[in-house]
């Protein structure tokens, strides 16, 4: 059974908390995670600004949830796979995906932007939970070949209500597929609170029904996330099967720029989470222990600025639509009918060109 209280290693002030069976991550991992967190926050806020400037069609911000995503990527090995949702740009970037490529779809282009096979990051898609059975398939294929691959599959609290969440967890457990299911429970599915998604004691409790361990973790505590997710990954890699992890966190900004969060939650509720911010918590902890200097923090900030600048540059370049591409990847070889349709568009464009 999941613990009644989420696993916490650092309190909101960054002080160590005892009483959990999880060992603290090594110092180097925590320092590395802080750098990634600072870049992640900058990425979120830059992307949010770029929406207002019309450079992104839409951006589902993960401001406040960055620790979950940084940890999810950081505990994986090179050959492992990550299955993100549309709110997990940060996780994909932490895995190595170029931020401009990661935001291609949200910019309004027709494809996912990156090569999923390069960093083993599945294309993010907007249907909810449909990526979870894919994660099970990747993991089970690896297991059939005797490969040590582990798959980190992400979804949100709303996604746990979808049928594919159920089917994926059930399949993973039945086939002992090496998958870690990380639910970022940020309290809301756009506007609908968790109480309307489930009557279960917690989302982690759902693991019981599938015959897999469920664990709850403070989703704003980087140390706890690295410990819990790291243990789940190693357990899966050792052949002990899948695990469900529920990270309790909070989306500090609206669902997207098109959403008005004041219609469904109080300012006071948001303010309470400011004090639990994952960056201030980890930074305070590392400074207190002398593991990070002001110079290092300045370096982290500078690295974050470079990512933001690259994002601005990349997204400020306009998409140059080539309609021929729309027909090129529907099948390995375009059908006769698609070839005719591509020729029709090319002919239209040719005639437009002649008129200019």
């Amino acid at each position: 059974m999941p613990s009644a209280e989420p696993v916490t290693l650092l309190d909101p002030a960054g002080r160590p908390v005892g009483g959990t069976p999880y060992a603290a991550p090594d110092d180097a991992s925590l320092v590395r995670a802080l750098g990634a967190l600072i870049t992640a926050r900058r990425l979120n806020d830059q992307a949010y600004a770029l929406v207002r400037q019309g450079r992104l069609a839409v951006y589902p911000s993960s401001h406040g949830q960055e620790a979950c995503q940084v940890a999810a990527a950081q505990v994986l090995a090179a050959g492992d796979w990550l299955f993100p949702t549309y709110r997990d740009t940060v996780a994909a970037v932490c895995r190595g995906v170029d931020p401009v490529e990661a935001l291609t779809l949200l910019k309004g282009d027709w494809h996912c932007g990156y090569d999923p096979t390069e960093h083993h990051v599945a294309p993010h898609a907007t249907p909810l939970a449909t990526q979870l059975p894919h994660a099970v398939g990747v993991a089970y294929a690896a297991r059939l070949r005797g490969e040590p691959t582990v798959v980190m599959a992400l979804c949100g609290d709303g996604g746990t209500s979808e049928g594919d969440f159920h089917e994926a967890l059930n399949f993973a457990a039945v086939f002992r597929a090496p998958v870690v299911f990380l639910v970022q429970n940020n309290g809301y599915a756009i506007s609908v609170p968790l109480s309307r998604q489930t009557a279960a004691p917690s989302l982690a409790h759902k693991g019981v029904g599938y015959g897999m361990p469920g664990e709850r973790v403070d989703g704003n505590d980087m140390a706890a996330l690295l410990a819990v997710l790291g243990a789940a990954v190693e357990r899966a890699r050792a052949g002990e099967g899948p695990q469900l992890v529920e990270a309790l966190t909070y989306r500090m900004q609206a669902h997207t720029n098109a959403d008005d969060a004041t219609r469904y939650r109080d300012e006071a509720e948001v303010a309470a989470w400011v004090e639990r911010d994952p960056i201030t918590r980890l930074r305070a902890h590392l400074r207190e222990r002398g593991l990070v200097t002001d110079d290092q923090l300045a370096d982290f900030a500078a690295a974050a600025e470079r990512v933001a600048a690259a994002l601005r540059d990349g997204l400020n370049r306009d998409i140059e639509p080539d309609p021929a591409e729309l027909f090129a990847h529907v099948y390995a070889t375009p059908t006769t009918q698609l070839a005719e349709q591509a020729a029709l568009v090319a002919d239209e464009l040719g005639r437009e060109g002649a008129l200019r």
């Binding site: 399949f171 099948y331 059908t335």
Partner: protein, 328 residues
């Protein structure tokens, strides 16, 4: 080396799976009851025993999970062949099929491809109860990114299933249930063309019947009777709904100047409508009469004692042929 063997369509499909499993270690077969039972239609009979649990296995009873897991396995180097136990039981997998199976190649600009086959026992004529006799091809054919195939003979069942498993793109493989027990002498290698080509099943000069899957034997029976009555009907078997073989179909229709499309699926907004439209657009000046359609009615598939009203039969096809403005 060639060999001749009399096979039912079910046996031909089993042999195709067997040969694919033997030749390609990346092929895996899974679904509901496909393991020790061999599938409710015995298409996977003996595969788990002969190739092991890792190559042919039962899954939990959840079609979206089956197709979704196949997507992931195809992403990671395997060639899954999954069975949807009955046509109407595939609907829980519809989102996976439409939003992911069909779109992964496009979404990733060809970086991630899904060589997978979704086998769907299809259509009626077997006295099945509700939800066991649907003709769902229009849903799949309407979805860009899917190939949709329907064999009508044991030889084609073998050839097309092998081609579907070897194909670089996902294939929805529609198996006409009522033809599972039809048999013929099959010669290996079959020499039949792969996916995307129609064939002329019967030569004829007066009119062209266009059919696929369960309707091909109906068209052939109609042509046989018409021949006895002095009218020479040509029969085109599409074999592949997507990609559609405009070239063969239109050449056939132009050669006779008259066409009847025969499908078991409902006519409204169906594959038959697409065929009639394509033929009319491309062959208008060669046509002596409007293209006629003989299809299932636009009603939920009726129960066993009523299904003979629903299924296009020889008489209904011949009546349509009679209407093709022969008088002038």
């Amino acid at each position: 080396m060639t060999d001749h063997v009399k096979l039912t369509m079910a046996q031909a499909l089993n042999r195709a799976l067997r040969d694919a499993l033997a030749e390609d270690p990346s092929v895996v077969v899974f679904g509901e009851d496909v393991g020790p039972l061999g599938g409710v239609f015995r298409i996977t009979d003996g595969l788990t025993a002969d190739f092991g649990e890792a190559r042919c296995f039962d899954t939990p009873l959840a079609e979206s999970g089956i197709v979704g897991m196949a997507v992931g396995m195809a992403m990671n180097g395997l060639r899954p062949v999954v069975e949807m136990q009955f046509d109407a039981f595939a609907y829980p997998a519809f989102e996976q099929i439409v939003s992911h199976v069909a779109k992964m190649r496009n979404r990733t600009r060809g970086r991630v491809t899904l060589p997978m086959v979704i086998r769907v026992p299809t259509a009626g004529g077997i006295g099945g109860v509700e939800h066991h006799c649907d003709s769902s091809e229009a849903y799949y054919a309407h979805t860009p990114g899917l190939q949709v195939v329907a064999p009508a003979t044991p030889a084609d069942a073998y050839t097309l299933l092998r081609a579907a498993i070897a194909a670089p793109d996902p294939v929805v493989f529609l198996e006409p249930k009522k033809l599972y027990w039809s048999s013929e002498e099959v010669e290996f290698p079959t020499g039949a063309p792969g996916i995307g080509r129609a064939v002329i099943r019967r030569q004829g000069t007066d009119a062209t019947l266009i059919a696929y899957g369960p309707s091909v034997p109906v068209a052939l029976d109609a042509a046989e009777i018409a021949g006895q009555e002095g009218r020479s009907l040509q029969v085109v078997d599409l074999r592949s709904i997507v990609p559609f073989d405009d070239e063969t179909v239109c050449a056939a229709v132009r050669s006779t100047g008259r066409a009847v499309v025969v499908t078991e699926s409902a006519g409204f907004a169906g594959v038959s409508a697409e065929i009639a439209a394509r033929v009319t657009e491309r062959c208008f000046h060669a046509l002596a009469a409007p293209v006629r359609r003989v299809t299932g009615f636009d009603i939920p598939y009726p129960p066993p004692k009523f299904e003979h009203f629903q299924l296009p039969g020889v008489d209904r096809v011949l009546d349509a042929v009679d209407d093709l403005q022969w008088e002038q």
